[in-house]
């Protein structure tokens, strides 16, 4: 498995990806023929109504699930045929997840939640520095229940970031946050790209977020309806919803 940097080819490429769920007798085709390249260092926003298959795509990209058809390549690695152990390594080394409901481990402090990812990473960032980057130095020893939603989401981002992955996958990162806090979180993500050149994939049902992307992918009923390149992305502060 080769997860090393390699220029000028796309970081990630999906071709003809489909995902079908068997629900008893019924077979539900949640994704149909998805083809998409993700370039290194870009911010990609995927928008679509709820139930359109966004999380499913994210799970496939994140190596949490396998497609029913098609192929997903991360650099030179074919995820569809990778073993469970290889997928675990892929998640560990290449991917950082940010969840809508933060998914912090409730019995671990903010710092320990971040450590949970640095402990298993190959080249992790410094835990306290990362917490400082998301502005949580003061609250490092608090448990999730003692933090506000925005703070929890920042811990979640720090956790994804600290293991120094190439690709950050954010599933409705602002979905559970109020407007102002949501914008702060988006600022943080944009900064990450600008400062350390991470590739960021944000999925959301909130079309208002689309303008900050380099490219916007529109999804509907499990199919990509269009992909729009954005010549001049807006800074998060100028976004309104």
């Amino acid at each position: 498995m080769n997860l090393q940097v390699q220029h000028d080819s796309p970081l990630l490429s999906l071709s003809g990806v489909g995902r079908t769920y068997a629900m008893g007798e019924l077979r539900v085709e949640v994704l149909k023929n998805i083809s998409l390249d993700v370039q290194q260092g870009e911010i990609l926003v995927m928008v679509g109504p709820s139930g359109s298959g966004k999380s499913t795509i994210l799970n496939l990209i994140g190596g949490m699930d396998r497609p029913s058809t098609g192929s997903i390549r991360y650099r030179r690695t074919e995820l569809t045929t990778a073993s469970d152990a290889e997928l675990t390594r892929y998640r560990r080394e290449a991917i950082g997840f940010v969840f809508q409901f933060y998914n912090l481990v409730p019995t671990l402090t903010a710092r320990e939640n971040v450590m949970a990812s640095t402990e298993i990473a190959r080249q992790p960032l410094d835990v306290d520095e990362t917490l400082g980057r998301v502005g949580l130095t003061e609250r490092a020893d608090h448990f999730p229940a003692q933090l506000s939603g925005g703070e929890q989401q920042r811990v979640s981002i720090a956790r994804a970031l600290a293991k120094n992955p190439e690709l950050l996958l954010c599933d409705e990162p602002t979905g559970a946050l109020d407007f102002e806090t949501g914008k702060q979180v988006l600022r943080l993500l944009v900064d990450l790209r600008e400062q350390i050149g991470k590739t960021i994939l944000i999925i959301t049902h909130n079309t208002a977020i689309a303008p900050l992307a380099d490219r916007v992918v529109h999804l509907r009923s499990g199919e990509i309806t269009e992909i729009v390149a954005n010549k001049s992305p807006l800074p998060p502060e100028e976004i309104v919803w």
Partner: protein, 792 residues
């Protein structure tokens, strides 16, 4: 410390109450294992060492009288390694410290330590001096119980003569680890002991110069493994001297009791832990499955972060392992302490030179191992769920549980009669079948332990009552050294305080039927006895047949004989004329294998008109006349021994009931832990699982007690079903115990008065309510708003 280890530590701390409850159950298992296994080895090694040190005999032969040359002949039988002759009698002891005449077995001892078998170990004082004729050594427990020290004097009634002796020492011997007087079930050092006298002196008194009436010896290892053929040969040699088939070591009383205790420890060291560990593993399974379920999202997140399945599997197994190791360590410690305590208790029954519990690293390691294996097994299912959960799946909210109707709801009429609270409780119970079943199983096991404990108490009470209030109603049993006529009854009838005296004739014999053979004795009774009253199984009085025998059920079973069949009797004392007699009826008895007959009928069978060798006495019960009675009895030259029913009952009660109290207390404690732990877990798991539902009810205006009431209903249903199932289960287990009890001369009564059932149900309910107390406390402390926010 790794992050997962910290998570483990905090999660364990959060679940401490439930985990401790499970650990307590597991601890009981390890405790039992360590205690019983340790005692098993303690007793076995103490037995081996003691037997070796005393050169414990392999066989014991009683005879009338034989010259010592016969001993040589026996020693030369192939298979016999060595043999020695001694003189043995039962005698009445008059101690200065006791008003009552006591009984003792008098044994001759070679001077100068020349004894080759069943040697004694001196405890206090010294051995015989070269010419010390009037010197005696007492067995240590007898001396201690009667406050006799070396230097004290006492007298023995030997061969119609009263002889003064000085105690020079006290001693122990391996043939009397469990020292029983004739016909008793428990040692009674206060009233029965062993008196060792110098051989030369005993020869003189009993006119046994150069002779013996007891031969003991050792067999070669091959012969010891299958002693019967050799014993038969010995019997042939001894026949002309009034000898009987020798008793092999495995049938020697002291050995038999000690061995069956050791064997019992060996068996229960497996059964008891198995019960506890099974319960613990099942309850742990419920807890960990729930834990893994409630941590779905966390599991998914950790998988997303890149934690391997193995890491997570290990993480959840570790929960169990923590409990397992904790209980293992606690169980080893408590097991060791209990073994120490039990050694003390054992010393009241078994007389060893030393009995201590030792350190057994291997037992402790095994204890740790079995608790860990049990814990890991119990958590494997939960951990497996964590491992199996597909990562993407873990992140998705779990589909709401299918809320279909339960079958009870189809019985519309019935269903409508339930209140809302009961409907909720019943629905929940039926939907969580696995949990409910584990709860019921746990309660059933707990209840069955209680039943076994209570029935055992009742059975012992019943046995004592049946034997000493129903069958034997004499205040005193006097046995005579030789047969006498009616005048002895009259003489005894005139002793102070005696209201009534009744004659008996004991004939020791072997009984033969269809190739089976048992040692035993026939008791001749007056035709209308008032002090020994044979009874049938239902307690009804049986009349004494003018001819023929009344045989007790256990003996009838051992001889495979039924009413109307003939039994061949070979008396082992007196003129030893064999005769056949019909079995007229079957009597019931729990102690001893008694056979009853009319005293005149029996006398005729042994060639006499009327022979009497025992007298039963009813006294007026006043203590003044009792003192006078004892004083006079001590002077009776023909007396071999006397036993008082009160003393017998007291010693039985002390030995059986008091030691039973310890084990019953333990059983109740164990049952309590099982109930408490099981119910607590089932309730708390139910509480956390339905937090949201219950929080909603809170918002709707349900009080905390009412919420608790919902859970209490569930517990009570589980508890009641389980406890009710436990009643027959415990009963069956008790029957199995009775069945497996191997002693020929004791039968455990099968009795179950209503209090057994009621107390079991009541205690079960009490334990469950105690567990509910913890649940209620948890409900009061709960953050209900957080309950509403949980998102799974």
């Amino acid at each position: 410390m790794s992050v997962l280890a910290r998570k483990l530590r905090r999660d364990v701390w959060h679940a401490k109450v439930t985990m401790l409850a499970i650990a307590a159950i597991m601890t009981c298992g390890v405790l039992c294992f360590v205690m019983m296994r340790s005692l098993y080895f303690d007793l076995s090694t103490a037995q081996d060492d003691y037997y070796r040190e005393c050169r414990m005999a392999d066989f014991w032969a009683d005879l009338k009288k034989a010259p010592l040359q016969v001993v040589e002949r026996i020693a030369s039988i192939p298979g016999v390694a060595s043999a020695s002759g001694r003189i043995s009698f039962l005698a009445t002891v008059d101690l200065p410290t006791s008003v009552k005449p006591l009984r003792a077995q008098v044994l001759s001892l070679e001077a100068h330590d020349g004894t080759r078998h069943n040697r004694i170990l001196l405890r206090r004082g010294r051995s015989f001096s070269a010419d010390g004729r009037a010197e005696a050594i007492l067995n240590d427990a007898f001396a201690t119980a009667n406050q006799i020290e070396p230097g004290d004097s006492f007298s023995l009634l030997l061969n119609n003569r009263r002889q003064e002796f000085r105690v020079v020492g006290t001693a122990l011997s391996s043939e009397f680890v469990y020292l029983l007087g004739p016909g008793s079930l428990v040692p009674d050092p206060q009233h029965f002991g062993v008196v060792y006298l110098q051989r030369g002196y005993v020869e003189e008194i009993f006119d046994m110069q150069g002779a013996a009436n007891s031969i003991v010896g050792r067999l070669t290892p091959q012969a010891a493994a299958d002693p019967d053929p050799v014993l038969k040969q010995i019997e042939r040699v001894l026949g002309p001297f009034g000898g009987q088939r020798p008793i092999a070591r495995k049938n020697q009383m002291s050995h038999l009791f000690l061995d069956s205790e050791i064997e019992g420890l060996g068996t229960f060291a497996t059964i008891a832990p198995a019960i506890f560990l099974t319960v613990a593993a099942l309850v742990l399974n419920i807890l960990l499955s729930r834990l893994a379920e409630s941590q779905r999202t966390t599991i998914g997140t950790l998988k997303a972060l890149g934690y391997s399945r193995l890491a997570l599997f290990r993480h959840y197994l570790a929960f169990g392992l923590v409990i397992g190791l904790l209980s293992g360590v606690a169980g080893c410690l408590l097991g060791y302490l209990s073994a120490r305590g039990m050694c003390e208790i054992y010393q009241q029954f078994f007389e060893f030179p030393s009995l201590h519990t030792h350190f057994y690293p291997r037992i402790y390691l095994t204890g740790l191992l079995i608790s860990s294996v049990c814990a890991v097994t119990g958590s494997a299912n939960g951990a497996w769920r964590a491992l199996r959960l597909a990562p993407a799946e873990a992140m998705r909210a779990k589909a709401p549980p299918v809320g279909g109707r339960i079958f009870l709801e189809r019985l519309t009429r019935l269903w409508r009669t339930f209140s809302f609270g009961w409907k909720m409780a019943l629905r929940n119970l039926i939907r969580n079948r696995a949990r409910t079943s584990v709860g019921i199983f746990t309660a059933a096991v707990g209840a069955s332990l209680l039943v076994i404990g209570f029935v055992s108490i009742e059975a012992t009470q019943f046995l004592i009552d049946f034997q000493y209030r129903q069958i034997n109603r004499a205040d005193f049993d006097l046995t005579l050294q030789r047969e006498a006529g009616w005048e002895v009854v009259q003489e005894i009838g005139q002793l102070p305080g005696v209201e009534h005296a009744e004659p008996q004739l004991h004939v020791s014999c072997t009984l033969h039927h269809r190739g089976r053979e048992r040692r035993g004795g026939i008791t001749g009774l007056p035709s209308r006895p008032s002090m020994t009253i044979p009874r049938d199984a239902t307690g009804n009085r049986l009349s004494i047949p003018p001819a023929g025998l009344l045989v007790t059920s256990k003996l009838a079973e051992l001889l495979d004989v039924e009413e109307g069949e003939l039994v061949e009797i070979r008396p082992t004392t007196g003129r030893r004329l064999p005769f056949s007699a019909p079995v007229v009826a079957i009597a019931d008895s729990y102690l001893g294998n008694n056979v009853y007959a009319d005293i005149r009928y029996l006398s005729r069978q042994i060639g006499e008109e009327l022979a009497i060798n025992a007298v039963q006495v009813k006294s007026d019960g006043s203590s003044a006349s009792q003192q006078a009675f004892y004083r006079r009895v001590k002077q009776l030259p023909a007396l071999e021994g006397i036993s008082s029913r009160q003393d017998t009952i007291k010693s039985l009660q002390q030995a059986l009931l008091d030691s039973q109290q310890t084990s019953i207390a333990m059983l109740i404690g164990f049952a309590g832990i099982i109930f408490f732990g099981g119910m607590l877990n089932v309730s708390l798991v139910s509480l956390t699982e339905r937090l949201r539902e219950l929080a909603t009810l809170r918002v709707l205006g349900y009080g905390k007690w009412r919420i608790g009431g919902l859970l209490l209903r569930e517990s009570m249903v589980i508890n009641t079903l389980g406890a009710c199932a436990g009643l027959p289960l415990g009963w069956l287990l008790y029957l199995a115990m009775v069945e497996s009890y191997e002693m020929d001369f004791v039968r455990l009564p099968i009795v179950a008065p209503p209090w057994v059932w009621w107390s079991t149900l009541l205690l079960a309910a009490t334990f469950t309510i105690a567990a509910q107390g913890v649940v209620q406390w948890r409900i009061h402390r709960l953050d209900w708003l957080a309950g509403l926010q949980v998102k799974e």
